[in-house]
């Protein structure tokens, strides 16, 4: 039962991930697309943690920690480099 609920939660969060794609495709400005990256990052961390408990693999928590520490790098690269215009 626990495994089923955890698995269902993973499925739900994956659906969230894929729905965020819509904002990437549509979102008028580059900032909208980077915003979707925020969603991906946060959801991926949750999925990793859920999988750690569901599959019984503690190493996945290390993956989640590592990921959350490095998550800002893409935003930093985007903000630092995209000087003018948000029309990307």
């Amino acid at each position: 039962m626990t495994a089923a609920v955890l698995g269902a939660a993973v499925v739900f969060l994956l659906l969230n991930l894929l729905t965020g794609l819509w904002r990437i495709v549509v979102g008028p400005t580059a900032a909208d697309r980077m915003l979707a990256l925020l969603l991906f990052g946060s959801t991926t961390v949750a999925v990793l943690l859920l999988m750690a408990q569901w599959l019984g693999d503690g190493a996945l928590r290390t993956v989640a920690l590592l990921f959350v520490v490095l998550a800002t790098i893409a935003t930093l690269a985007f903000v630092g480099t995209a000087r003018e215009g948000g029309r990307a």
Partner: protein
Amino acid sequence: MSVGLLVDVMLGLALVGLSLRVVTGQSLFSDIVQFILFGLVVALSWSRLGAPDLALAEAAIGAGLTGALMLMAYRRLVQGGGEDAVRIGPRPLLALPVAALTGTLVAVIGLVALGVQRVAGAAGDRVLEALPGTGLGNPVTGVLLVYRGLDTLLELAVLLVALLGAWAVSGDAAPGRLHQVDRRTPLVGALLTSMAPLTILIATHLLLAGTDAPGGAFQAGAVLTGCGVLLVLTGTLRPTAAAGLVTRLLLVSGLAAFVLIGVGAVALGRPTMTMPGTWAIYLVETAIMVSIAVTMTLLFARSRGLAPERS
């Protein structure tokens, strides 16, 4: 349909769908963002498949390096050529046949691999049997450093050659100023203060844990690269035109340590490229980690050296 199967199907569809979108999309920027998402889904897939070492490496490199590299490359394209430089042209005619061919090849290999019977006494089983004798608990590290050390050595050489190639291509010109976020921007300073030491901590943990649990030199090196990238992106480390002595020493330290220990093992009366003990494994792993981190940070900063920013 069990939940596990549902997750697998979703991950599989996401992988295929995202890769299709990335190569057929019409807006380069949105394709880049989707590629970053693709990297995340790959990391999730490795996790689902029970390969945390691969998930660690993929998460570190995908989150910390690839995305930032592509976004910066996009920026340079727009700077250099305006909007036309990032317009996606018509698909070349060969694209579909090549894709079909590659897909068939991969599918054939995959199906064959799936159909192979497990043979008792195969290499994998031998590795697992002999592992306790090496003092290691993680079979991945065992294979990388002990059983296939030569491959790892050559991989390190390849990484170094890649860096030298990048240097050769970029020539002697002084490195352009990387567009970076000013450290005085609100919150960025706080981010650095909290994240940079955390990456060093995590890298050290991965290095030390790698002998018994998922982790190891490559993953630790990738995390340290993330630290380096953070410092470069925020202007704490400035690209310089020449590589200092310390930089050069650090770059070759991984290769050098591995070769020294591998050759030195002969002096201790063992075959070449064996590890004389767990101390050797730690030493080589640390050197590899540092080398990888310095190499990849230099590749990211596209310069020959890095110096702290004096401000």
